[in-house]
Amino acid sequence: MDLTYTEEEEAFRARLREWLAKVLPGLPAKPAAADWPARRAYDAAWQRMLYDAGYAGLHWPRDAGGQGATPTQHLIFLEETELAGAPYVGANFVGLLHAGPTIAAEGTPGQRARWLPPILRGDEIWCQGFSEPGAGSDLAALRTKAVRDGDSYVVTGSKIWTSHAEVADWCELLVRTDPEAPRHRGISWLALPMDAPGVTVRPLRTLAGSAEFAEMFLDEVRVPAGNRVGAQNDGWRVTMVTLAFERGTAFVGEVVACRRVLGALARTARANGRWDDAVLRRRLGRLSAEFTALWRLTQWNVSEAQSGGGVPGAGGSVFKLRYSHARQELYDAAAEVLGAGSLDADQEWVADRLSSLSYTIAAGTSQIQQNVIAERILGLPKGR
C-alpha cells in the first residue's frame, strides 16, 4: 500500500502544473451557459490547447493517437486540472470518453483514421444517443429501429438526455437492427451525422431550469452502413467496452471539487455564524471523513485498474452509490449553511444542489447500482 507518487508521476504532475499556470491566465472568459455555439468554441479551443501541449487523449492508446498514460497519470491530470480551475472537458466529453475509445477499440482502420484525429484536436464534437424515453435504467429496452436499405440504415425513433446535441457533429447511436433477437442481441452502434435530414433536436429543460440536455427525434434518417462500428447486432458488446473504459477515474475531478466546496462551506459557516450550530458543524466534519474516504477509494480503484485486477465496473458501482448520496448530502448541508439563502436560485450552491438530484438517477439509479453490487460482487441470486 503506497500513497506516494513515483518520481515519474511527480515529474508528470510538475510539468502539467507548470503548463497550466502558464496557459490558464490567458484563457478567454467562460461563455454563458445558454450560448451553445460559444460553449462549443470555448471547449474546442481548450481541447486544441491540450492537443498542442501533448495532453489530448491522455488515457487513449498510443496507436489511436493518444498518450497511453497510466490510470495514475490520468488521475493526476484530472486532479491538477480541477485544482487549477482549468476548463472542463465539456463538449468533448462523449468524443474523448465514449465514442472515441469505442472507435479506437472496435473500429476499422478507416473509421479510426476518419474519426479519431478530429476528436483529439477538438475539431469534431460528438453526442450520445443511448437513452430513450421509454427505456430509462433499462437501457437494453431501446426501441429506435434501423432498417437496412442498400448501403444505408434507415433510422426512426427518439433519444433523450442527449447533451450538446445542438452543437454536435456526430452522435454515437444505439439502434435496434433485429427486433426478433433477445434484448441485448439485436442492437447496433452507428455514427450518425447530426446534419443528416430527419434529425430534429429539441432542448430538454431540467428541474434546474437549464437546458443541459436535449431530446433527439429521428425520422427515417439515412445513415451509411459504413458508419456502423462493430458487427451488425453486436452493438451492446461494443458499447460495454466503452463503458468499462474509464477504469476508476470517472469522478476524480468531482471529488476534488466536492472537497473544495466542503472547505468553502465551513469557512462560510464560520463567517455567517452557522458554525455555532453543533449539529451542522458535526455534519460537515462527517462529510469531511466521507469525501476523504471517497478520494482514497478513487486511488484504490485507480491502483487496482493499473495493476489489471478487480472486476471492471463493480468497484465503480460501490463508489458511485456512495458518492452520489454523499454529493446530495453535501449540498443539503450547503443549504443549511445558507439558511434562507438556500431559497435563492442564483446562488451557485443552490444550482448545484438542484443538479445533484440527478446523481442517484443518471447512469444507473441507486436501485440498479445496488442490484449490480448484490448480484455481480456479492453473488446473490437474480430474481426479485
Binding site: 437513452s131 424515453p133 430509462g136 435504467s137 433499462d138 429496452a141 433523450i160 438526455w161 430538454l204 429543460r205 431540467t206 428541474l207 431550469g209 463567517a271 455567517n272 455564524g273 452557522r274 455555532d276 450550530d277 449539529v279 443549504a335 439558511g339 434562507a340 439563502g341 438556500s342 431559497l343 435563492d344 436560485a345 442564483d346 443552490v350 438542484l354 438530484l357 440527478s358 442517484t360 438517477i361 443518471a362 439509479t365 441507486s366 436501485q367 445496488q370 426479485r384
Partner: protein, 337 residues
C-alpha cells in the same frame, strides 16, 4: 374521543379538493409556473368559497369553523400546489379589511426573536426577513424584529406592524420555487402598529404551513404510486419491484405520521404540538418529494414533471415559521420542563 374527521370535515375536504381541481387544475398550475402572478379572480373565488373567512364568526360574514377545518383546507391547497400567501390571508382575515373577501392580499413577514439564552451570533441576527409574492400583495404585516441598528429587525419587542406594500423597501431575488416569488425586506416603516397576538399568529402560521406540507407529502405519495403502477422497466411495472415498493411505503408512513401530528395540533392548539407538527410535516414533504423524484427516475428530473415543484415548495416552506433546529431544541426543552 373521536379522532377522525367528522362528516362535515370530510365534506369540506372533498369540496375543497373538487374546487381546486376545477379552478386550479394542471393547466392553470403550469401556467402559473410560467408566469407567477397571482390570479386575482381566482383569489376572489377562493375567498367566496370561504378560504379566508373560514374561522370568522358567522355574524361577521365568516363560516364559523375552527383551526381543524383551516388545516384541512390548507392541506388541500398544499396538495394542489396552490400559490399565494394563503396562510397570511387565513390568519389576517377579520383583522385586515378586505382580506376575507379576497379584495386585498396580505402577507406576513417574520423577524424572529433572538433565542432565549442570549443574543445569537451577529451574522445570524441579520438573517434576511423574507416576503412571499411581494409584487402581488397590497399589505405587509411584519411580526417582531430583533433590536439593534438593523432597520428591519429593530423594535422586535413592539409586536406587529402594518405597512402598505409600496412603502416597504425590498430586494427581489430568484426564488428557488418558480411558483413563489420572494424578496428580502430591507427597510420597513413601523408607523401602524397592529394589535396582534404575535405568539399565536406564529404558532398558527407554523401549523397551517405544516398542513400545506402534509398536503404536498400526501400528493407525492399518490404521484409516486401512480407512476410506479404505469411505468414499465425490465418487463414489469416498476411498482412490482421491492425497492420501489418500499420507497412508496416509507413515503406513506411519513405522510401518515405527519398527519396525526398536524391534526392533533389543530385540536389541542398547543405550541409544542404545532412545533412537532411542523417538524414532522417539513420532513415528510421534503423527503417524500425526493423519493417521488427517485421513483420517477429521469422523468422526475425534467421541468415538465410536477415533482420538482413539490420539492422546491417543500424546501421553501421548511424555511418559514421555524426550522428543524429550533423545533428540536424547543421539544427537547419540553421534555425537562
Amino acid at each position: 374521543m373521536d379522532f377522525q374527521l367528522t362528516d362535515d370535515q370530510r365534506a369540506l375536504r372533498d369540496g375543497t379538493r373538487e374546487l381546486l381541481a376545477g379552478r386550479f387544475g394542471r393547466e392553470r398550475l403550469r401556467a402559473a409556473v410560467d408566469g407567477p402572478v397571482l390570479d386575482r379572480e381566482l383569489w376572489r373565488e377562493l375567498a367566496a368559497a370561504g378560504f379566508f373567512a373560514l374561522r370568522l364568526p358567522e355574524a361577521d360574514g365568516g363560516v364559523g369553523l375552527g383551526l381543524p377545518e383551516a388545516v384541512l383546507v390548507l392541506e388541500e391547497a398544499g396538495r394542489a400546489l396552490l400559490p399565494g400567501p394563503l396562510v397570511a390571508c387565513q390568519l389576517l382575515a377579520g383583522i385586515v379589511d378586505g382580506v376575507a373577501t379576497g379584495e386585498r392580499i396580505v402577507a406576513l413577514a417574520d423577524a424572529p426573536a433572538a433565542p432565549a439564552d442570549g443574543p445569537p451570533h451577529p451574522a445570524v441576527t441579520s438573517a434576511p426577513v423574507l416576503w412571499e409574492h411581494p409584487a402581488d400583495c397590497d399589505t405587509l404585516i411584519l411580526l417582531g424584529g430583533a433590536q439593534g441598528a438593523d432597520p428591519v429587525h429593530e423594535g422586535r419587542e413592539a409586536g406587529a406592524y402594518r405597512s402598505a406594500a409600496a412603502d416597504v423597501v425590498r430586494t427581489p431575488f430568484a426564488s428557488v420555487d418558480p411558483l413563489t416569488p420572494l424578496a428580502r425586506v430591507t427597510d420597513i416603516p413601523r408607523k401602524i402598529p397592529l394589535p396582534l397576538d404575535v405568539a399565536r399568529v406564529r404558532r398558527e402560521a407554523a401549523l397551517l404551513t405544516a398542513a400545506q406540507q402534509l398536503g404536498g407529502a400526501a400528493r407525492t405519495v399518490d404521484m409516486a404510486v401512480t407512476y410506479a403502477r404505469e411505468r414499465e422497466q425490465f418487463g414489469a411495472p416498476i411498482g412490482s419491484f421491492q425497492a420501489v415498493k418500499h420507497l412508496c411505503a416509507q413515503m406513506l408512513v411519513r405522510a401518515e405520521i405527519a398527519r396525526s401530528a398536524v391534526y392533533a395540533a389543530a385540536v389541542t392548539e398547543g405550541v409544542l404540538d404545532a412545533t412537532a407538527a411542523k417538524l414532522l410535516a417539513d420532513e415528510a414533504a421534503v423527503r417524500n418529494a425526493r423519493d417521488c423524484l427517485q421513483v420517477h427516475g429521469g422523468m422526475g428530473f425534467t421541468w415538465e414533471a410536477d415533482v420538482h415543484l413539490h420539492l422546491k415548495r417543500a424546501w421553501l416552506r421548511a424555511e418559514f415559521w421555524g426550522g428543524a433546529g429550533a423545533a428540536e431544541e424547543a421539544l427537547a426543552e419540553g421534555l425537562i420542563a
